[in-house]
Amino acid sequence: MAASTSVSNAFRSTIVKKILMSLTGLGLVIFVLGHLIGNLSLLFGPEPFNLYSHKLMSLGPLLWVIEIGLVAFFLIHAWNGISVSRHNRRSRPVRYAKTGDAGGPSKKSLSSVSMIFTGIILLVFLVIHVATFKYGAYYTTVIDGVEMRDLYKLVYQKFHDPLYVFGYTGVMILLGFHLRHGFWSAFQSLGTNHPRYSGPIYTIGVVLAIVLAIGFIAIPLYTYFN
């Protein structure tokens, strides 16, 4: 039986919206993981970090493809997230006077019910973050005779600004909350649920959320207190 619904209809379906969010979300998890690994070079001082960032900036057209891809992933993820969240609010026009948690197999948590809030804060943070570093002050340095951007200097300055450091730390905790529900939820939204693998996927999500949050918090705090 051929599909009776048009493609445009399918994109309006809540299931397809969640599938798009899952695919982009998992893609962004990979990006964030890579970002953290790259950022670890900050712990080894100016040279390794500047060489790393110079290498990234020298990717040329490939960098453009990656950046456009990232922007697209963020936009698709956020757009569908906001759309689904608005739809969900309309789905219960009259709220309960008293709400409870059923417990047991339920995976409802502070993290799962706050996805839209943590998501919006992360989106706002992202804009500030890119403006601060990518489009921030352009210092230069020379390493091995090559002139390159001294991004370390800018990071060092920002990571000694208490407002930035503790704001950043707070947002990274929210990133952990977002991923704690988001990771396993993405697999479930993609239709993968298996008695053998779903448990481990859920656990991996929790571990990933903790590792990423702690990793991203450790770098500015380490820089700040050293």
Partner: protein
Amino acid sequence: MSEMTLKLSVWRQENAADAGKMVDYTLPGVSEHMSFLEMLDVLNEKIIAEGGDPIEFDNDCREGICGMCSLVINGIAHGPEKRTATCQLHMRHFKDGDHITIEPFRAEGFPVIRDLTVDRSSFDRIIAAGGYVSVNTGNAPDANAVPVSKEAADKAMDAAACIGCGACVAACPNASAALFVGAKISQYALQPQGDPERARRAQRMVDQMDAEGFGACSNHAECEAVCPKGISIMNIARMRREYLKAIIS
């Protein structure tokens, strides 16, 4: 036999157009052996004796199998006991002096008719959209003509345990009907009898679910926790696979 006195806050609403409000009652003489609905029957007797209108609530078999009873009790659909419909919930799970809040299932797809009674015909329309198998008339087929594996039969049976009460919708923070629709799609998708209409069924039932104004599933799994039949969210994952297969086929 110990008797309890309960403080009850019950949602009262004249009709669909009425704004409705919570009304407090004090009910003495509640036996621990009463079911929750019997407790409400006693409350209604008291209200009628005092010249008021009884509280309207849905119920039918009172055996936990028909799916008619509903109610959100202290914020939890079908109350605090696991795998228990409201009619099978007994007052022994409460204690003297308890304050119990009783509300209707709340969802755009379940408009309140009166008091605690909601219109769940949106579920009927979802079923009408594809929750059936078309069979030729005539004699019943031979018993083993169409083999079904034990595993598929078990999973289909687990999904078919859904009594369509709508607690999944009531408990979902998004008022999503994904567990109900997932169970109904699964019970057919797992069996050869459901195969010919498989893609069309998944698509039509999901489209109808969205059209009825139910929310999108964000995998809180609260539905599974309140389901009187303990239906697994694995059926929601299957619904998504079925829908995806249908739209790309």
